[in-house]
């Protein structure tokens, strides 16, 4: 596709990225690193600096300090060279309301024509509409589109160039469950073909399902940047649901080696310091029926809530 510069394995790399609007520090010393081919989730509360960071990556907002490298190219210096390889959805889709979705894509594409003949470009527009499920809407003006349709049109616009890097802000905003599933499948499919994804989202479950790595912003700083698997490693606690909690407590309390119950909520017990298998074996041996036993993992939500400022605090 586009002959963009090679990224030395990095799709996105920032060093000390800082942005002040007047006296307000929107983003402070962010070192964001996204490897090529990775699916990176970008989370954080409202006003944490996510969008400003994304805008700086794409050259819309100019950094006060720090460096941005996109697919190995310097931003904003080499923007014109690198942007053809990047597809983006920033703060919601936008289109000319009096034109059809197809006309909108054709117009955007004509403003900075991609490679190939006119017919090939038209075919790419059709393909992009097809993959987001908008091929059938015909000549209807965007003005009459639903929120979900606009969102899908925005995605199509990002996909027309078959980019190497997709930067998507809230990609499933306004979509119904089927639409969300469809977009997730599409993104995973693109990722399997080698496209790098940088997805910023409030929906932590979405990031959990979609992404392999996650970065969390809080008050302008990148406070977490880690593999989803590492963040979601077992906590060492085992959650057990039993028919008879009293008996279960007694059984586990008699154990010489192994964990003990730290708390119980009705029929659910939390056991610390013992693998699931040992807990289940001891309970079953003692004749206590086990309905469910699972090693506790933290959700991404737990991680994000723990590392970021609670809502309502000064931000």
């Amino acid at each position: 596709m586009s002959a963009a510069p090679s990224g030395d394995g990095w799709a996105v790399r920032t060093q000390g990225l800082t942005k002040r609007f007047g006296t307000v520090a929107a983003v402070t010393d962010v070192d964001l690193e996204v490897r090529e081919g990775e699916r990176y989730g970008f989370c954080g509360p409202n006003g944490s600096g996510k969008t400003t960071t994304v805008r700086m990556l794409l050259g819309l907002v100019l950094p006060t300090r720090g460096r941005v490298e996109l697919l190995g190219a310097d931003v904003p210096g080499d923007l014109a060279r690198v942007l053809p390889s990047v597809g983006a959805l920033v703060e919601g889709p936008a289109a000319y309301g009096h034109l059809s979705g197809r006309a909108n894509l054709a117009l955007l594409d004509a403003a900075a024509p991609g490679p190939g003949s006119r017919r090939e470009r038209r075919a790419r527009v059709e393909e992009a509409l097809e993959v987001v499920g908008l091929a059938g809407v015909g000549r209807r003006a965007v003005r009459g589109y639903s929120l979900g349709m606009r969102q899908r049109l925005g995605l199509a616009a990002a996909l027309v160039r078959r980019p190497r890097l997709l930067v998507l802000d809230e990609p499933t905003n306004g979509l119904d469950p089927q639409g969300i599933r469809r977009v997730h499948d599409l993104l995973l499919d693109l990722s399997a073909q080698g496209t790098t994804l940088l997805v910023s989202s409030h929906l932590l479950t979405e990031v959990e399902q979609l992404c392999t790595r996650v970065g969390v912003m809080d008050r302008g700083r990148l406070v977490v940047s880690d593999d989803v698997a590492a963040l979601r490693a077992p906590t060492g606690r085992v959650l057990v649901a039993v028919d008879d909690p009293t008996a279960a407590r007694a059984v586990l309390g008699r154990r010489v080696v192994g964990g003990h119950v730290v708390e119980g909520l009705g029929e659910r017990l939390v056991v610390v310091g013992s693998p699931v298998a040992d807990v289940v074996r001891d309970l079953v041996t003692a004749g206590v029926a086990v309905q469910e036993a699972v090693a506790e993992r933290r959700t991404l939500e737990d991680v994000v809530l723990e590392r970021t400022t609670a809502v309502g605090e000064d931000r």
Partner: protein, 280 residues
């Protein structure tokens, strides 16, 4: 083209397509054309023309020959109607895209900021030229149908000598060009404001503010020192193109003044737009 910024021509083409696809463009041009037609109808029904020297320049002459009417029609829309339309289109240029959110997607294509600004300017000029051509054409038809159709030989300059058809044509063409270029000052200010605000309305009103202030100051004796620098100062100099021989002095000054405003205002627009954070 891959991996490179697009040619300017592509961006200008897209701008022109966007303007042409917008109903507002044609409604505005239609309204611009309607006013001279209404004036022509009133003149032909009443046969009452303003006294020479009073009312819109030139109108008194057109009762005798409708072929002079295109120039008179341009004189009618020049002081207010045309600059208002130009300010609205120019004010919408960047701010309208920002308000709609399409500005960021254009820049991400990527359309370079300088290219986009130049393309927007080309779009505004094309709109102005199209409006001027449309007004001239409708006024010619209205003039020939409704007003005096005395032979061309009797079409006279304001100096009293006769005009041949050929002379009438090139003089009218010069007036069209001069009127179009006279709008560039207002267009440039609205375009500058359009890069400063995300509100198309504010940008258009700013351009109109310049128009009104300039008109007031030109008429004010106390502003004599400034007067010759004001953008509307030489707007009516198009009448000189119908003198015999053509009186070029004020036309040239008018073009120089517009040029000065355009260079300063567009320079500022460029400096602002290429270094500004796009947060819309």
């Amino acid at each position: 083209m891959s991996g490179q910024a697009p040619a300017l021509a592509a961006v200008v083409g897209v701008e022109l397509r966007k303007l042409a696809a917008r109903p507002r463009t044609w409604v505005t041009i239609g309204m611009l054309c309607a006013l001279p037609v209404v004036v022509a109808v009133l003149l032909s029904v009443t046969e009452v023309a303003p006294r020479p020297g009073a009312g819109p320049a030139f109108l008194s002459a057109v009762l005798a020959n409708g072929q002079l009417y295109p120039a008179a029609a341009l004189g009618i829309v020049l002081p207010v109607f045309l600059p208002v339309a130009v300010a609205v289109v120019a004010g919408d240029a960047i701010a309208g895209e920002a308000a709609a959110g399409t500005l960021r997607y254009l820049l991400l294509r990527p359309v370079g900021r300088t290219r986009l600004l130049v393309a927007k300017l080309a779009g505004v000029l094309a709109f102005t030229a199209a409006a001027v051509v449309a007004v001239t054409a409708t006024a010619w038809v209205a003039g020939v149908l409704l007003l005096g159709d005395a032979p061309v030989a009797t079409a006279t300059t304001t100096s009293g000598s006769a005009l041949s058809t050929g002379e009438l044509l090139w003089r009218t063409a010069l007036v069209m060009a001069y009127v179009t270029l006279s709008m560039t000052g207002v267009a440039a200010l609205s375009l500058l404001l359009s890069t400063l605000t995300d509100s198309p309305l504010a940008a258009a009103l700013g351009g109109l503010g310049l128009l009104v202030s300039s008109t007031v100051l030109v008429a004010l004796d106390a502003a004599q020192g400034l007067r010759d620098l004001l953008p509307t100062r030489y707007w009516l100099a198009w009448v000189d193109l119908f003198r015999d021989p053509v009186l070029w002095t004020d036309v040239q000054r008018g073009l120089l003044v517009q040029g000065g405003w355009v260079v300063v205002l567009l320079g500022a627009a460029w400096a602002n737009f290429t270094t500004r954070d796009i947060t819309s």
